[in-house]
Symmetry: C2
Subunit: 311 residues, 2 copies
Amino acid sequence: MSKVLVFGHKNPDTDAITSAIAYAYLLSEQGVEAEPVALGEANEETAYALDQFGYEAPRVVITVADETDIVALVDHNEAQQSVDDRDKVSIHSVVDHHRIANFETADPIFYLARPFGCTQTILYGLFQEAGIDIPEKLAGLMLSAIISDTLLLKSPTTTDRDKEVAAKLAELAGVNLDDYGIALLKSGTNVDNKDAEEIVDGDAKSFDMGDYKVRIGQINVVDIDDVLNRKDEMLEKMQGLSIDNGYDTFLLIVTNILTNDSEGLVVGKEELLPYVGQAFDAEVNDSQLPMPGVVSRKKQVVPVLTAKIEG
Amino acid sequence: MSKVLVFGHKNPDTDAITSAIAYAYLLSEQGVEAEPVALGEANEETAYALDQFGYEAPRVVITVADETDIVALVDHNEAQQSVDDRDKVSIHSVVDHHRIANFETADPIFYLARPFGCTQTILYGLFQEAGIDIPEKLAGLMLSAIISDTLLLKSPTTTDRDKEVAAKLAELAGVNLDDYGIALLKSGTNVDNKDAEEIVDGDAKSFDMGDYKVRIGQINVVDIDDVLNRKDEMLEKMQGLSIDNGYDTFLLIVTNILTNDSEGLVVGKEELLPYVGQAFDAEVNDSQLPMPGVVSRKKQVVPVLTAKIEG
């Protein structure tokens, strides 16, 4: 067996990148040669977390089959979110907290999904089960992902287990959960120095819903107007990306991490727009959609939109 | 949430039925209302195990949506092996030791697959993790499934963990592993009182391979001639079932549990038969295929046949 390459989804967020680091460390401690890599550059928030705890960003790969025949997936399973040549390698294992779709294997593997707010919460349990200690700096990195994915334990995706594990990791890492949490979240919210593509597509994922290809991006801010003031620029970019990549609709969720409300920007096929509105008991007006109380793409957006579109 | 119905695959074997019983027990102990059911009658071997440890066979269901909106799957995940109206209910969780395919959910769930020889070996770990004791009689039932799935720890699907867990369960159940194991396996091998459909289809499963629908049955015997003496009757039944159900090929694996060798019987599309032969470095002659050393459908048949057919 060649070295297992471990990676999270495309357009990596803090969980995708740090879970690859944590899982590769766990596998190595268990005698499996493993290296964390990433399917894209670290965003500002992730860079902040890596820097805080003294880690380098994992190297970015575009394909994997040229260097290994086996990979492990964290924080995703769907083919369209994974490495492009995944069908050329075998899958060692999967640790994930998303729905399961567009995923299959030829052989039985280790697959662990739990409906927790963050992949790191699951990985924490695997460290416990294996009786392997989590080093102080790794604990800080794992905590960063939980803070990021759950918006400091406030997103509806947050479970009691996330809270329990976050508290333990904060203690191991020697940081104050709330102080570090706010600092981390704020580090990712400066959109003024980001171009339109980074804002709309930096954290975007593709989903197959019925016969449609739906692109959903999300950007965290401390003031929604930071993005709405550049609305025309955003819409134009979303339209361009949709044409280039065949998206039938593109929804950008702009989330205020202090108030936990969002505003949506939407472009796409005329026939689909009413569904997008109905999914949130609202209407798409002038390409804009109010989404009060919505902060979780996974829990509050993907399931309702899938249900509406697949009817 | 209504009561969670827990079940294994269609054409249930001992693992499918007893894992439903064990997982429903575990869920109940964890405060989740759950009932084990089965997607078919218990076979002779399973009936023997249930009887040995004082259990009734779970009731058989054909559909589930008329009585619940949530189910848990054990020992399978593929849609075509599951209950027909699965798309009308949500899935609470999955515990399985097979490849993952034809499976998807709208929401994140608990999904645990491990490449062990038996689902019960995975469930044993969940009991440990939850700190819940396994009652003596349930331990005997769980052990029966491991013996059945691994042919008394001799199949190539057997892992060290299966051996370790089997030894612990035998101790908990107060039985001698080898003596009880041989008795259990023999209880399922009497084919003289079985009709052709029970023999060829009693333990059969369907697989999508490329554009083809492949049916693979397996029957354990202590003398392969017990089945080969009735070869014409078997082939006729396999042809009939293929026509009725649109199978492109039907392979029956006749396995001698004492020597760990098999002989295959094959019917199906002319274009497919060479692939079936090549998959086992042999030729299909007179509808018959030598399969020396092959005892595991999952490990020694499905992957090689899938690879050959999908090219």
